[in-house]
């Protein structure tokens, strides 16, 4: 029962991912897509969490944190790109 429930939740998370993918496809603006990607990342994080309950293992708990980190790093890179066109600046123009 509990398992079935978890799978159901996972299914909805998957749907959420697909919804976000729709946003990636649809756009229309770049920030939209990046936001969708970030959202996919966050949803994946949730999915992994549920999966680790489902599989009853804490092998995947590292992934949760790492996903959080990476989705953060990635999104910031994208944001920089959108904002400035350059991802890493050689020298800060303050």
């Amino acid at each position: 029962m509990f398992k079935l429930f978890l799978m159901g939740c996972l299914f909805f998370i998957t749907l959420a991912i697909i919804a976000a993918l729709y946003r990636v496809v649809k756009g229309p603006s770049k920030p939209d897509r990046v936001m969708a990607l970030d959202n996919i990342g966050i949803n994946l994080l949730a999915g992994v969490a549920i999966l680790s309950i489902l599989l009853h293992t804490h092998a995947f708990l590292d992934i949760i944190l790492l996903l959080g980190i990476l989705s953060f790093v990635g999104t910031i890179a994208f944001a920089r790109y959108i904002e400035r066109g350059v991802v890493i600046e050689r020298k800060h123009i303050e």
Binding site: L21, V24, V48, L70, G74, F78, V87
Partner: protein, 801 residues
Amino acid sequence: MSWLHLMIFIPFVFAIFVPFVYKWFSGRVHTGWFVLAAPLAVFLYLLKYIPSISKGETIRLELPWMPSLGINYTAYIDGLSLIFGLLITGVGALVVLYSIYYMSKEREALHNFYVYMLLFMGAMLGLVISDNILVLYVFWELTSISSFLLIAYWYQRKNSRNGAQKSMLITIFGGLAMLAGMIMLSMMADTYSIREMLGHTNRISEHLLFFPAMILILLGAFTKSAQFPFSIWLPDAMEAPTPISAYLHSATMVKAGIYLVARFTPVFGGTSEWFWIVSCIGLITLMYGSVNAVNQKDLKGLLAYSTISQLGLIMSLLGIGSASLYFGYGEESTVYAFAVLAALFHLINHSTFKGSLFMIVGIIDHETGTRDIRKLGGLMSLMPISFTLTIIGSFAMAGLPPFNGFLSKEMFFTGVLTVFESPVFGIKSIGLLFPIIAWVASVFTFIYCMILVFKTFMGKYRPERLDKEAHEAPIGMLLPPIILSCLVIVIFFFPNIVSDHLLQPALTAVLPQFAGAGGIEVNITPWHGWSTELFMTIGVVGFGVLMYRSLKKWSRLYGYFPQALTLNGIYNHLLAGMERISLKLTKQYMTGFVRDYLVYIFTFMIFLLGWSLWLSNDLSFDLSNNAPIHLYEAGVILAMLIAALTVLFSKSRFTAIIAVGALGYLVSLFFVIFRAPDLALTQLVVETVTAALFLLCFYHLPELRKERSSIPFKFTNLLVSLGVGTIVTLLALSANNHRLFESISSYFEDSYTLAGAKNIVNAILVDFRGLDTMLEILVLCIAGLGVYTLIKLQLAGRDKK
């Protein structure tokens, strides 16, 4: 290393020293004097074998080269080798002597000349004395190469280069064919030694490869001996300095083919194929050469065609003589054996008179500055010695007494008549063609001999057409042709000395069934009654004179022959055609467009794998041992498909890269679902860093363009990619249901006890398969350095273009 081997290698040894000698003494002494020692020494050394060889002995000495492969330099001297060896060194010595006067020590690059010459001489010697067919082949190709160099001696001239290239292509082509034949032969006989092959003739003749091997070896012989239709290289080879022509085309290079045929007669002879091919090609060549010689304007060209024709004559005699092996030992066998004897005899004679003729033509060229028959004339009074020598040589060639050519020509007629009189291999009435062709060709031979003598020396002397004032050559230059001409006459009067000491032992080498009997009884005499042969000769002379008289009238016929159909035309056409077709084809598929290459590769893959799968019948779709699939997993798969398709259809690179990122994240979700935490972690990080890399590079890259390509282009791409996808899927499905063995990875589940690690994947990475990891970080490190150099080192701006 025996004395014999040493002697064979002498020319090579000399060749090494020639450049030094040239460097040190070139100003003072002609290098030729140093070189002369080599052929002379070998000639004298070989002379000492005559007594023992004429008694029927043979000498066999082995020098290991690659003993473990059965390839040794086995020197083998019997009568046949000895004749050739003496010719090579004897004529060689004379040619070197001649060249000392012919080649100016101031103007010519003598070191090159003599190095090539010695190489060639050594190669020829090695060729005729070696018993091992592979070694024989080595020397064979060496003669091709060194003659290539000799012909192109004046490499600045385009004609020399072309002539050299032609001779090389044709003779090496033949050499390769011969190699194939020899390999087949060695497979049949299981040995590389010709001597040992003779012990297995039965096995060889019953083998399936017998006929192909024979054809291939004959190809080698025919190309080398300039037999029809491979004769075209020979006239072009006249671009070489005259001493070379004299050497190559009288005594050596072209005789190599004759040697080969004679040498392999015991192996292949006695069969109708051998008989027909050799004798017919010989007769055709004889005809072709003599007919064409008449039409030549260049003296050397005339001699070249006459050489072709004479070689055809010898070849046909060898072909006819091979029938003797069919009969074993007996009456008819002896009759045919006589043809072989004639062949060998004519071989020697031809070397003498042709050598001298070439030298004289060289003298004429040297002294008048031209070889064009139309410009020459009336030299008789100015160059009397040369004139005499020409008469001797030409009349010998035409088969007139009292010169040795008469003897062998008569014997030739005897040979062709034999075919008519005692038919073999179901010849019947066709046999009549043999003497007829021989006779007609002899008429033409007579005509060109007359041209040679009379057009050059008779008629009006027209100094205005010549480059130089004509006068007699220095004695040193005349000496070699004088020696040869003396031989021509001496042999006529004492043919039996030659016959007993050289020809008989050689005959037993060609026809080994006579070895036990001590040869055949022959007595070569100039006069043997009013025989058919004599009448034929008289006919030749009579008809020849008539024809020569009316030469102007009928020689126009030559003009009617279309240029494109000449052998030369065909050769040029073939060569140009090969280049053209190659270029067209290569350009057709080598487009430089990498997409095309990938299409070829993928198409090939689809077809090969598809064919193999279809052949194997191992396609199977079995869902039973699949792991279960959950709804959410289907959702993830769907999401991946969407992401991948987005990449495909996105018009902006930004969308594409985000979709790829999403795809990567979803892949890592799969890794989680399939219980691979390490993978999921790595995939996530790598995906993020890759995305960041893409973003970094976007600054330097253009926005994605809309693909502007034709419908067929896209359709092909679609088809190919669908094919690839299908093949991958099909293979995956089949492999999945085809797990034959337990994986070895259960071993790794002990990793805690084995390697002290609870994380099996990590244990595999750092311990069980640590080497992989080590190299993998090396790859990473190289890539980092590569990126760095790519960005930092930019020589593009400094391009020459």
